[in-house]
């Protein structure tokens, strides 16, 4: 192996690592705010990737209809849970947010049709289609499970994952999709050629990370979310609606998933079930950070990307085994640290 190959592998690893970092952030965010170990995070990636690829190709992606199905189900759950004190105003708001939004998005996508569009518009449409799925899923599945143990939420998340995979197959079919690179040109830095796609990935990761940090540090909503993450009971006592916090967290997670999908689909062919393994690598990173630290998660994500790139060169058929086995030493260190800990609160 010479330096060129090494540089190429490292660049490849950093690009994938950036995406794992985004997914890791989403997982940490969801876990801290809702105590949910959100296995379906990767499915949002597949949904985002396929939605974007189909939009680019001028098709109407199936997720547009799926979003309407989710919205309608969430509406039904919401109205049923409040069936004793329904007011016309409440029904109207609920219909607007849970049925109006998906139908409006559907209409926009249908009107735009097959005409070629700028990349950013398709990116925005992808976020608009996949992003709201997060809060809808929360309303349907996780909000009624409020107060359940981490384990129960975990099992529910796994059930959601199974359903999302099947829905992915139903709405996208078994064919994989690939989209053209986000930026076609490449940049030459001395001996290193950085592809435009990689640049787009780095730029997006930096932008999203900065935006998330600003959201948490500067806005009241962000601070409320942070408060819910640190101490849910305390947050409720000072008047923060933890369900709203949770919905925002789910919306952010779905958005991050969709963006990650858009970033990854020009690099590899994505199928309806490709998301799981990608999401799991974000998980490996999030676990490095103890499902609590954004910084460690970010660093770990890049390490996972690089290890994966090197493994695919040296022992390609054992790539997955090597990456997932990385978790085990981390878990061992964690367990050694909490040697005397009781897990009674779980």
């Amino acid at each position: 192996m010479d330096a060129t190959i090494l540089l190429f592998l490292v660049q490849d690893g950093l690009t994938n690592g950036a995406i794992y970092a985004l997914l890791g952030f989403a997982l940490v965010l969801l876990f801290t705010v809702t105590r949910t170990i959100f296995i379906p995070q990767g499915d949002f990636v597949a949904y985002g990737a396929l939605t974007y690829a189909l939009l680019r190709a001028g098709h109407l992606p199936g997720t547009v209809k799926l979003l309407a199905v989710f919205g309608a189900t969430a509406l039904a759950v919401e109205l049923w849970s409040r069936r004793r004190d329904l007011t016309p105003g409440f029904i109207a708001t609920q219909c607007a947010t849970k049925l109006g939004v998906p139908l409006a998005i559907w209409a926009v996508v249908a009107v735009l049709g097959a005409a070629p569009r700028p990349v950013l518009l398709d990116l925005a449409l992808t976020i608009a289609i996949v992003g709201p799925m997060g809060p809808y899923l929360y309303r349907i599945v996780f909000q009624p499970l409020g107060g359940a143990t981490v384990l129960t939420l975990f099992i529910a998340a796994v059930a959601v994952h199974i359903a999302l995979i099947a829905l992915g197959l139903a709405f996208f079919g078994p064919e994989g999709q690939r989209a053209p690179a986000l930026i076609a040109t490449s940049l030459k830095l001395g001996p290193v050629v950085v592809s435009g796609q990689s640049l787009a990935v780095y730029a997006t990761t930096i932008l999203l990370t900065a935006a998330l940090s600003a959201f948490f540090a500067l806005t009241l909503r962000g601070k409320a979310l942070h408060a819910s993450a640190v101490n849910a009971l305390g947050a409720r006592l000072v008047g923060i609606d933890t369900h709203v916090s949770a919905k925002i967290a789910f919306a952010l997670a779905a958005t991050i998933g969709a963006v990650s999908g858009v970033l990854i689909v020009p690099m590899t062919t994505i199928y309806y079930d490709s998301g799981f393994v990608i999401g799991l690598k974000g998980f490996v990173a999030a676990i490095f950070g103890g499902l609590g630290s954004f910084i460690i998660t970010g660093i770990a994500a890049f390490s996972v990307g690089i290890v994966e790139a090197l493994a695919s060169f040296f022992a390609s058929s054992f790539k997955e085994i090597i990456v997932f086995s990385l978790i085990i030493p981390v878990l061992l260190v964690r367990s050694a640290r909490s040697h005397h800990g009781d897990d009674e609160d779980h």
Binding site: I140, T152, I162, A163, L280, F318, S335, S338, H339
Partner: protein
């Protein structure tokens, strides 16, 4: 409990194989249920009973199936000869993974199982020896005395005989000394540790046992299908096993059968019915499947089995007979006569948490046959002192010795072994175990029977002695009428008494009670005071933390007063009552 009718039901199911006219398709489904029930049974023990969630059980099934596939096709072993080797290999891998996994706290444990579950699945598909993704074919069928058992009907009998044996053995295990230790693991198991249960070892035992059941299922699977490939051993299937356990009722072994049956039948039904409703190419059954699991979690978190039992029994608990035994458990050897030193000696004990000195240089002792009471305002360090004595917390400095032995840091098991038994300020009972079983956990160290003897029901004589002793302790605290109730159904005051009975079941030399009178009514307090006086008369030492001064003053031989982590006074009740430092601590200084 409802065991006899279930065993009978299984026997009838077994007989179905020989009834002519049973559609072969039913037999295939029943075989799948049996295979899944074996794995789920292990998972119920691991997850529902032991509190460790595993998503990776399918990998153990794979290890069992691949081991026998290689041994019978490559090395030409007979299937029966490969069975012990299959169990050996599965047990070894389970021990190895278990050593890494069972110590993981909280949600790290299920994540760990996902990690090795996926890695093993990929490994099955990558190794040349295992035929990569094509797998291994041409596995010989089972045979007995030259008669081939290749037909699904013959395998049905083999599978369900093994299922029956596994359920009976597991039932035996759970109602034994080891079983009580396993059941006490959930919710942390720190109480179990205080009664001498080796938590890490018990967890590992359950983990290996669950792995072995999965390996057995894999062995049966390989000789039923006659070929193996990686697909049925992936994470998805591992998740399905967990669903079975949760749906059936993860805390109950028969829930494994209900869950396995329900999910296998449900999947089959969905596979046949949904395509008719929404079109064959949509594969919507997984969506319905996921939805059912979510709805189940939202509406019936404990699973189907408890509901079925409630239907059958109308929600009543069966009254157990008071257990009897022909001989008692061996008593603890008496303290050497003429012992003049204190039984418990606390010397300059200190504990700091970060910068906070919770206990500073506290020294006192307890002699044999003496009641010493630790009092002090809230936050005085009483419970910390308790935890230092019983080894729940390690000392920052100082020394605690008991009966001449210096206590190692943070070893509740050593404290239990030396004859210290305790109760907890926040009651730590296993709520769904009966009062009798909870108290019997206290006698853990006084008996020997291990996992194997329990599985084979060879522990019954000793078990009878344990239960008889537990019943005697329950009688001492006056709760005999509640013996067969789940401990969680008792009032808080009664639960405190159950904790005292459990402590007495250790046959202790010193009993440490953390606020035993809290939540008791007046006459219950009098009865408790009487009991403690009686124990003192029998030579037992008592150390208690208590707030109720009326209770304390009439009972204590000596009182030790703590405030802000330091000892401010010790002496007889009369001396303490007039001690200026105590009055100042409780009533505030007179400036």
């Amino acid at each position: 409990m409802t065991r006899a009718p279930l065993v009978a039901l299984l026997a009838v199911l077994l007989a179905l194989a020989v009834v002519p006219g049973i559609p072969p398709f039913w037999i295939t489904l029943a075989n799948n249920i049996g295979l899944a029930a074996l794995v789920t049974l292990g998972l119920v023990l691991l997850t529902g009973v032991g509190g460790m969630t595993s998503f990776g059980q399918a990998a153990f099934v794979g290890i069992g199936a691949y081991t026998t596939a290689v041994l019978t096709t490559v090395y030409g072993l007979s299937p029966w000869a490969s069975l012990p080797l299959v169990l050996l290999v599965t047990g070894f891998v389970a021990a190895l993974l278990g050593l890494m996994t069972v110590r993981l706290p909280g949600f790290y444990l299920p994540l760990g199982t996902i990690a090795w579950g996926i890695s093993l699945y990929f490994l099955f598909g990558k190794l040349d020896l295992l035929g990569r993704y094509d797998g291994i074919g041409g596995i010989p069928p089972l045979s007995i005395a030259g008669v081939s058992l290749a037909s699904p009907q013959a395998m049905y009998v083999v599978i369900w005989l093994m299922v029956l044996a596994a359920f009976v053995a597991t039932g035996n295990l759970l109602s034994s000394r080891t079983g009580r230790a396993i059941r006490a693991l959930r919710g942390g198991g720190s109480a179990a540790e205080s009664f001498g249960v080796d938590r890490a070892r018990t967890k590992l035992t359950v983990f290996i046992y669950a792995g072995l059941l999965a390996g057995l299922s894999g062995w049966l699977y390989a000789h039923l299908q006659r070929s193996v490939n990686p697909t049925p051993f992936g994470l998805g299937i591992g998740i399905e096993y967990l669903f079975m356990a949760v749906l059936g009722g993860a805390g109950h072994i028969w829930g494994a059968l209900v869950g396995a049956g329900a999910i296998v039948l449900l999947k089959d039904l969905l596979q046949r019915v949904t395509p008719m409703l929404v079109g064959a190419d949509l594969q919507m059954e997984a969506v319905v499947f996921g939805a059912i699991i979510v709805i189940m979690l939202q509406t019936a978190r404990d699973g189907l089995w408890p509901r079925l039992v409630a239907l059958y029994t109308g929600g009543h608990h069966r009254q157990l007979a008071v257990p009897q035994a022909d001989s008692p458990l061996p008593p603890r050897p008496a303290v050497a006569p003429g012992l003049t030193r204190r039984l418990l000696e606390v010397e300059a004990a200190s504990k700091n948490f970060g910068g906070l000195m919770a206990v500073k240089q506290v020294s006192f002792g307890v002699s044999a046959g003496e009641i010493v009471v630790l009092i002090g305002p809230n936050g005085a360090g009483k419970s910390t002192t308790f935890n230092l004595i019983t080894g729940v917390l390690g000392l920052s400095s100082g020394k605690v010795s008991f009966d001449g032995h210096v206590l190692a840091d943070a070893s509740p098991r050593q404290a239990a072994a030396l004859g210290m038994a305790r109760t907890f300020q926040h009651v730590k009972l296993v709520p769904d175990m009966t009062v009798l079983e909870n108290v019997a956990l206290g006698a853990h160290r006084r008996a020997r029977a291990g996992t194997l003897r329990s599985l084979l029901r060879l522990d019954r004589a000793e078990e009878a002695r344990i239960l008889a002793d537990a019943a005697r302790q329950i009688d001492r605290v006056g709760l005999t009428e509640h013996l067969s109730k789940p401990a969680g159904s008792l009032a808080l005051g009664q639960q405190r008494l159950v904790e005292i009975a459990r402590a007495l079941a250790l046959d202790p030399r010193l009993i440490l009670l953390d606020e035993p009178a809290a939540g008791l009514r007046h006459f219950e307090k009098q009865a408790l005071a009487e009991l403690l006086s009686k124990l003192r008369a029998e030579g037992l030492s008592v150390l208690l933390v208590e707030h109720d001064m009326g209770f304390v003053m009439g009972l204590a031989d000596r009182i030790v007063v703590l405030n802000f982590g330091t000892l401010i006074a010790k002496g007889t009740p009369a001396e303490i009552r007039t001690h200026p430092a105590v009055i100042e601590a409780y009533l505030g200084g007179t400036e």
